[in-house]
Amino acid sequence: MADIPERPPVMRGHPGTREISGRIASIVLKGQMPRFFWLAFLAAFLLVLVLFTTVAWLITQGVGTYGINIPVAWGTMLSNFVWWVGIGHAGTLISAVLLLFRQDWRASVNRFAEAMTLFAVAMAALFPILHLGRPWFFYWLLPLPNTHMHWPQWRSPLVWDFAAIATYGTVSLLFWYIGLVPDLAVLRDRAKNRAAQLFYGILALGWRGSAFHWARFDAVYYLLAVLATPLVVSVHSIVSLDFTYGMAPGYHSTIFPPYFVAGALYSGFAMVLTIAIPLRRLFRVEDLITKRHIDNGAKIMIAAGLIVAYGYAAEFFFAWYSGNPAERMMAWQRLVGPYAPFFWVMLACNVGVLQLLWFRRVRLWMPALFVISLLINLGMWLERYVIVVTGPSTGFLPAAWGTQSLQWVDFGVFFGTLGAFFALMFLFLRILPAITIFEVGELADERREA
């Protein structure tokens, strides 16, 4: 760590467009993945089997199997949901917000960040459905008048949530696919065997890079980014309203929407780094995903993390300032009650460990940053869990206090979705270009001219 460059460049060296497209495309087309790649995929796939088993158990036995009961009727299904949605948001921030701000460092990380968004939202969407208890009735949230003439309760944030997540997933998929089409055309024209040519050829829709097509592509791509930016804020605000509409102590707070959005970016960037740090090393793309990307990601974590820390402070301040004994007791129980260990570990990860990122040496030292990002992922999961369970567990009526205890089903479903997420990520790395070829190529040409 002796010499640290003042500001690492967005791209190292001067690779040409031909070299870049060849390197990125060959990861997919040659298909010679490192051995550990398939071992890691196998591990992830075993977790997928755990997910199926646990979900089957959960559905046949009922939601009580994961430790919820009155008064704590919301358990890890809700905290996992919030955690996964939050992880998705960093992908949208990178792909949409940084596009609008014309940040050139987004080019080599946006594709896999968008994939991360899609897969994270897919995982998130499972949880509220599993939480329903009778998941096969989830379509009752849709406005489909049946013979009973019932309609969704439009005033309920849970219905808004359903609409927000569905919209978010659809828009993310559309944005991802539109950006993918030109790269699929590159793969189509580089593929050597017939099956790959057909596969990428059909997905590329006949893209030929016409100037007219590119002009329309640019117009729509930017406008989709303009749409995705308020969408992402609305999605996590609505997620937080699921809580604030409830009258439980600790839920009913106006700080929640901004606090949740910041928390989403915080945990999302932690996940981006968790994926990017090994990815750039394993696929030898350190010159495309440089330390500048990693450094910038860490800086965004500092900003988002400090807003989250302010959120913690505000929660405690308003618990005291409200003068409401139930609110005060809930806050006090967070510090010393049955969930205190979770709370203190959360504080240590999200506020304590975060402070290390002020040091450039730490931000540029990959193993340390990787561990920090894992710890912040853990901390953010604990944060959501603490928020979900502490409120109802110490409600307004002390006679009706209770706790949620973590069961094997909690862990099975959670680690199962982690496995499904990484299995999907691995398949994505194998099948689709994880780095945007056309944008990185454009960046490379600009840099060669400069």
Partner: protein, 174 residues
Amino acid sequence: MTADPRPALMAAFPDEHALCAAARALAGRPGMDAFTPYPVEGLAETLGMRRTRLPLAMLAGGMAGAVFVYALILYSVTIAYPINVGGRGLNAWPAYLMLAFEGGILGAALAGGFGLFRANGLPQLHDPVFATPGFTFARGGGFWLLVPLGGDTADALRARLTDLGGERVEEVPQ
């Protein structure tokens, strides 16, 4: 080659600047097109593209989505299934705006996405351009300019394109 029935030539240029310069020099000829590995700013305007109406389509899609969702809710709470809860108003618009907003975003995004494919004529898995010798969209294929013959002979246009810096001039198969 004077009686060449094929109506267009494609020329490969070494970079986007040479391509843009050639496009400017030939500007005004109908039916020109260019093929680049990434978007080149201003190229489509040089080739005679008018402003795309896709943003308007997205606006219309967004408005339609929002109005549709709000109208659906209004129908359900006032006509299909009105519930009187303590005399509260049926049209609780602050709550419904959240859903109308999501509907608007979805409508605009779908209008933009599908409008883009429609305006570009995609999917269109084959085009004569693909059959042009040397043309490929894999990187390193170059920056191509497609020029219809118009009134020129193929040889005259070929000479013109070579003068403008075209490194390789090919006929587009019919």
